[in-house]
Each structure stands twice: as C-alpha cells, then as structure tokens.
Amino acid sequence: MEILSMGGYGAYVWTAYGLTFGVLVLCAVQARRRHRRIVRDIRIRLKAAESGK
C-alpha cells in the first residue's frame, strides 16, 4: 500500500505523526485529569473546613 509505505519512508513518517498526536492527546487527557483532581481536592478541603467549624 502506497499510503503505508510513503515511498519507502513509511516508518519515519508514521512514527513522527504517531508521536505527535500521541503527545497532543496525552496533554489533553492529563489536563482533564489534573483539573478533576484539583476540583476534588478543593471540595474535600472546603468540606473539612465546614464540618470543622
């Protein structure tokens, strides 16, 4: 398949694209997780402060 082989440079081209999209997706996933964690931590702290009063 010409698409996969990319004129013989397939390994290089697809690795480059794969790594790039991989990193972009990783950043997005990590961003969501981080945000969720921050919100959760703040909620816990606030609850503790409220019940501590």
Binding site: G10, L19, R34
Partner: protein
C-alpha cells in the same frame, strides 16, 4: 473596552470565560488539524527531492513554531505579571511552560526522525538550530525547576519571570541561526523576505496545521490556567460558591 480587560484580569470572570472558549478553540483546532493532516499526507504532491519523507514537515514545523510561541507567551505573561503585579499573568506563564516544553520535545524528536533519512544522521552536534532548540528545552526545564524549588508562590512567580525574560534572547537566535551560521537545517521556509518558498498545494496544509496546533495550544493553555487559578484562589469566596453553590455563605 477597558472594563472588559479589567474584568478579564479578575480570576472568577476569567475562569468562566475560559470555560466557554475552550470548546471552540479545541473544536476549531481539531478541524484544522484534521484537514491539515489529511491534505498533508494524501493531497499534497511528493517533494521532488525528498519524496514522501517531506510530509513530516506537517508535524515538525508546527511543533517548532509553537515551541517558540509558547516561550514568547510565557515570557510576555511573566513580564506583565512582574511589572503590573497581575497574578493571572503569572498563572498564564506557569501554565505555558510545560506545554511549551512538550512542543519543543516534539520539534526535536520529529526533526531527528526527519533528519535520519534526509541528512543521514539522527542528530548533529554543533548545528546552530538544533543546539539552540535544545537550549530552549533546557530553558523550559530551568524555569519549571526554579518554580518548584521556591515554596512562596509570589517569589516563585517573580523569580521565574526574571528567568523567562533573560532566556528570551534565545528565541531570535533559534529563528536566525540558519541565516547567521552554516547549518545542515534548511533555511526559513515561511517567514522570509520574498514570501514563502513552498508550492501552494504544500503550503495550505502547513498553514492549517500551524493554526490547528496554535488553537489546540490555546485550549490546553486556558485549561491549565483555569486549574492554576483554582489552586491559587482556593480560599476565595468565589471558589467556595463555585464548589458548593447550595451552601449559603454568611
């Protein structure tokens, strides 16, 4: 107009506004990247010198441009925070750093992968552009290391701001390195006197990818800044109201 900017600098307003912007930025970015990737891989004709290997340009160049743009944004935001003492500006700088580092890493990695078949080597010590881009990565690391080494947020903000501004000299060096010194890296393709040195069919996917990366970067950046703002303002009333809207704060 000034009221708008003033409101923007207020964390709760920024937090809400960013939340509305992120989906649009991410969506537009995704579309641009999808078009750019498809066109770059399948529609653009193969290069007469490099064959299909040149298609790496569609991920390498956007990553490289973004690595520089992120640093400039980081340094400018840090400078604004330093001079005008805006906490939000510092939050932007702190958020831009890890993203910029990732793009720099990608630029170096994809560049190396492209270099292997083209120049016959994975790396060339002493090449001015490769070296200065590597220095950029180290500058990002230094910035993040300094931030994490200082416990006091205000001092961390201001110290890293000074560092970011000092490192700004590296950005023009990276861009002009291929003109100032002998380099195996090709000269500027887009930003040069006389206009872009690339055919239109090859140019459009590239522009789309650059725009797409920038939009996605914007979305990621705003996302991180929102998180940063929450952490910095966690004791503020607006955060409490956000987390527990049902609770009536006295």
């Amino acid at each position: 107009m000034w009221t708008f900017l003033h409101k923007l600098a207020s964390p709760p307003h920024f937090y809400a506004l960013a939340a509305r912007l992120i989906p649009w930025l991410a969506g537009a970015g995704a579309i641009a990247i999808l078009y750019g990737t498809f066109a770059g891989l399948f529609l653009a004709p193969p290069d007469y010198q490099q064959g299909d290997a040149f298609r790496i340009i569609y991920v390498h160049v956007p990553a490289a441009y973004l690595s520089l743009l992120a640093y400039v944004i980081m340094a400018v935001a840090a400078g604004i925070g330093l001079v005008w003492r805006m906490k939000l500006a510092h939050a932007v700088a702190a958020s831009a750093a890890p993203l910029g580092a990732w793009f720099t890493f990608l630029a170096l990695l994809t560049g190396s992968i492209w270099g292997r078949p083209m120049w016959g080597t994975w790396w060339e010590w002493g090449d001015p552009r490769l070296t200065s881009e590597l220095v950029l990565l180290f500058l990002y690391f230094g910035y993040m290391a300094l931030r994490s080494a200082i416990d006091d947020t205000a001092r961390a903000d201001r110290a890293s701001a000074v560092l970011a501004l000092v490192g700004l000299v590296n950005v023009p060096v990276i861009h002009f390195s291929v003109e100032w010194w002998a380099s195996i890296h090709q000269g500027p393709t887009l930003v040069r006197a006389g206009g872009p040195a690339i055919s239109t069919e090859m140019l459009w996917p590239l522009l789309a990818m650059i725009a797409g990366f920038a939009l996605v970067f914007g979305a990621l950046l705003l996302g991180r800044v929102r998180g940063e703002v929450l952490v910095r303002e966690r004791r503020a009333r607006w955060v409490r109201r956000l987390m527990y809207p049902e609770v009536e704060t006295p």
